[in-house]
């Protein structure tokens, strides 16, 4: 397998997983209309974002990925892509 194909596969894998995270987030937050957020969306764009949303997000990641995000990690993750990268990093 050439490097191009390998990289493509990795990219597909990552994007699939980020889509999975987006689906979990859409399912969890009533405020989000399905299909309206993407990897570059800001987490805090959720209408009326508050510390309560942060707790829900921590519980969601813990439940689906068995990773306990710290307050600092969540604070530094601006977009869903950032959050996904934290999950991948912690998983590796």
């Amino acid at each position: 397998m050439g490097w191009y194909n390998f990289t493509l596969l990795i990219l597909v894998y990552l994007s699939m997983n980020i889509q999975e995270l987006i689906t979990y987030i859409e399912e969890e937050f009533d405020e989000i209309e399905k299909g309206t957020i993407h990897s570059e969306s800001s987490i805090r764009e959720i209408e009326g974002w508050s510390s309560m949303h942060a707790l829900i997000l921590i519980a969601l990641v813990d439940n689906h990925y068995d990773i306990l995000l710290t307050g600092e990690e969540l604070k530094n993750a601006v977009t869903i892509k950032d959050l996904h990268e934290v999950i991948l990093k912690r998983k590796s």
């Binding site: 707790l55 829900i56 921590i58 519980a59 439940n63 306990l68 969540l74």
Partner: protein, 350 residues
């Protein structure tokens, strides 16, 4: 390692007492409608009981205890130990337990002491009172509860709508046929600032100049004499430690989780209890809740949940219960018990 079993001690009855005054989440004027709905969905709290200004936690515990002692026609001279678990005592000193010995008409030969713990306090209290009873004392009264609303600021959305007031009384006695209780107790003082009332005791005496409220972030305004809560820290602590320590307690007792009838967790937040349940891969029915109607009632939450959510079951059959308290300290504790049928009741305090 604080893992141990206690034999020869049984629980005879559990009573709770709550103020009649109800505060509904949707009536909290600092929440808009969306915030109110999100708060209810996340914490599970629709309403909570709030004691009047002149009512103390010891009044609620006293009411629970007198109802219990009268209903069961207990000979007061048989009560050899009284423990009061609370973080809202009547006075700086003396210990509230000693004042309750006199108020309840107990013998001067009854030992009485306070334990200063919150959310983990009921299980800690059980561990101390049962360990003393197993040495031959006849009966013991464990009073646990808090008037948490006295220390929260109306202008702090992170604490004010969370806490409710309640007092409880649990009667225990020496009984050679009692099943073993299996305890698993922990503490981590590095998390002391996660839930804290900084001023008012020896480190920082009460300071009238600090009664003025300061805004820490939008919606969080309080004085330094009031309760501060770092929700994120507490949440992370609970998700990290609770399910793990419950499993350790079960392993210590050599009991499979499927054999436990109910897991009665401290009622801090529905999201925490749901997360613990999902980690343990158990069904919702196994985790009774009372937070919806009473809020977070600190050390009263476990006995209160038993009184209001397991009344029919525990009054008619023996139950295998895993009790788990966790929070301020940080402190967390589990116990596996077999108890019932026993009388339980929740009474109102006007």
């Amino acid at each position: 390692m604080a893992k141990f079993s206690v034999d020869n001690v049984k629980i005879d009855a559990i009573y709770s007492c709550v103020p009649t005054n109800k505060n509904k989440t949707r009536d909290y004027s600092l929440f808009n409608e969306a915030e109110s709905l999100l708060f209810e969905k996340t914490t599970g709290i629709s309403e909570r009981r709030v004691a009047k200004e002149n009512t103390t936690c010891s009044d609620l515990c006293y009411q629970a205890a007198t109802n219990l002692l009268n209903d069961l026609s207990i000979d007061l001279s048989e009560i050899d130990i009284l423990i009061f678990v609370s973080q809202s005592p009547d006075y700086f000193l003396p210990a509230t337990a000693v004042t309750l010995q006199e108020r309840l008409g107990l013998s001067k030969n009854c030992m009485a002491l306070d334990i200063n713990l919150g959310c983990s306090g009921y299980v800690y209290g059980l561990s101390v009172i049962s360990s003393l009873l197993k040495n031959g004392l006849k009966k013991g009264l464990l009073l646990a509860g808090d008037k948490s609303t006295i220390s929260t600021s109306f202008n702090d959305k992170s604490t004010y709508p969370l806490f409710g007031d309640a007092g409880t009384a649990t009667l225990l006695s020496f009984d050679e046929s009692a099943a073993n209780m299996f305890f698993d107790l922990h503490s981590d003082g590095s998390g002391k600032d996660a839930i804290m009332i900084e001023y008012g005791h020896s480190r920082f005496p009460y300071n009238i100049f600090l009664d003025e409220e300061k805004e820490y972030e939008p919606g969080i305004k309080r004085s330094r004499n009031q309760l501060a809560l770092d929700g994120m820290k507490v949440f992370n602590f609970a998700l990290k430690e609770v399910a793990k320590s419950i499993n350790e307690c079960l392993e210590f007792a050599q009991v499979e989780k499927e054999l436990v009838d109910y897991f009665v967790l401290h009622q801090a937040n529905k999201l925490i209890n749901d997360s613990v349940r999902k980690k343990m891969k158990l069904t919702e029915e196994k985790f009774p809740m009372s937070i919806g109607r009473y809020g977070n009632t600190s050390s009263a939450s476990i006995p209160l949940t038993i009184c209001v959510s397991l009344k029919e079951e525990i009054e008619n059959q023996q139950l295998h219960l895993l009790l788990s308290g966790f929070g301020v300290g940080l402190s967390w504790a589990n116990v596996l018990i077999k108890t019932g049928p026993i009388p339980v009741k929740c009474v109102d305090y006007d």
